[in-house]
Symmetry: D2
């Protein structure tokens, strides 16, 4: 992108770990991390021009076909969680999103707690037909 | 219903408390109880002839308009949970379902952990038009 | 509380409805509303001086003993959700919290979608001993 | 294992897709698959001798350090889901579990909808010290 970046290729969301995301081991459960990732990805696609509220009208939906999550260290009740989501690459019919999750206890330093990668396609519903990735997204990817 | 009861008015489901339903207080979180109730209600409506798999075709959906849950005592990781769901009353456009949740630790006695009441309507989608309750359900209710 | 109210008796949180909170009927599922309520209640108790991150240290936890939710109208994918949580009354060993949920589609007007009431006790863990409500909370309640 | 197989290396669980696991695209949401996987893994570890109900006493917990999920085709409301979980390999301080998810609509044929791999360690709490994998699990792995 020489002159302008019409689509930001990276967004960040913030959460605070609630009770229901912890488990009896005292730490945030696996499933909660995926929820944080999904929220960040939704924000990333909204930044790329795909607003969730418009999808029921356009019939064009992002569909995750693969998720990888590496859990590095535990997050705990009340930690602030920051998830950065980045469009890492765009191919003809799929895009790769990369996520980094950091947790910060009140008064503490951020700790790298997890990272994730998702492969996403675009599908036209209700036919379920795969669509090409918007070519302008390539400029947003690293 | 004089002679036969074609619809059972009560069903029971069983769960085992997984990690992700507990929280860092060491007990099952509030939200998990509602998930158990939803599962039992789905089974109750299936027994009444409303199979979930058929709803996308019929366009007729049960819609919960009110939920009450009383939490009596804590359930814990690995407890067996039994939820009994009962059609308690059927009016013209709404039905009332009553739920009782018991938890049993391995080798222990069942403890009454929660109870819930839901008010349900039937709605025809996509118009969102409320439908009358099937009159034959009255025989299933207490 | 003579002159000042050191504790705000009302807080508000905002969410955007993600995919995973909708169901195949096209609307936000029951369980998601309870999650929004839990998040708002956590924020309310933090404002009252009970920070989640400190609870594992103090051993003092709020415990919900009753939840009521009335679902007024549907919320949808991408709607902004605002939940206001208010400390409505404080008795010796229990407090009542009242929640109001409004949803706003992009470019639309807020719609009242649900309301909830929770009864909460304070429990000292691991003994599970109920505690008195802090008397200063009475000033925060309506 | 020549003569006896004290630990089964494979278990299977069954679920029926409830409303709350579908999203407004009409299909089961990503997060629900991970919940099914977690349930199957819990059953697998119970079969290997690690009963969840005993973990709070032993302080020995399985901790997932990596999850991969490939979503092959959509599952829908009311589908029966079968998850088979298999202990695929056991190394000194980690084990690999492999999951296969099939969905069956009422009256239909099973479809392969997803597969997952998890890497799991054993941790002694509250110190968080990693433990060796039980050597007898090697016989249960393929």
């Amino acid at each position: 992108m020489e002159e302008q970046a019409p689509f930001p290729g990276e967004v960040e969301i913030a959460e605070t770990v609630p009770f229901y995301d912890t488990d009896c081991g005292g730490v945030v459960s696996n499933i909660a991390y995926l929820r944080y990732v999904e929220k960040a990805r939704t924000a990333l696609f909204a930044a790329l021009g795909m607003e969730p509220a418009a999808m029921m009208g356009t019939g064009l939906f992002p569909v995750v076909v693969r998720t990888e999550i590496d859990y590095r260290s535990p997050a705990r009740l009340g930690d602030g969680i920051r998830v950065s989501a980045r469009l890492a690459s765009v191919e003809k019919v799929r895009a790769t999103c990369v996520f980094r999750l950091d947790a910060t206890a009140p008064g503490g330093e951020p700790r790298h707690v997890a990272e994730a990668v998702q492969t996403v396609t675009l599908v036209r519903m209700p036919e379920g037909r795969p669509q090409r990735m918007p070519p302008e997204w390539r400029g947003a990817a690293d």
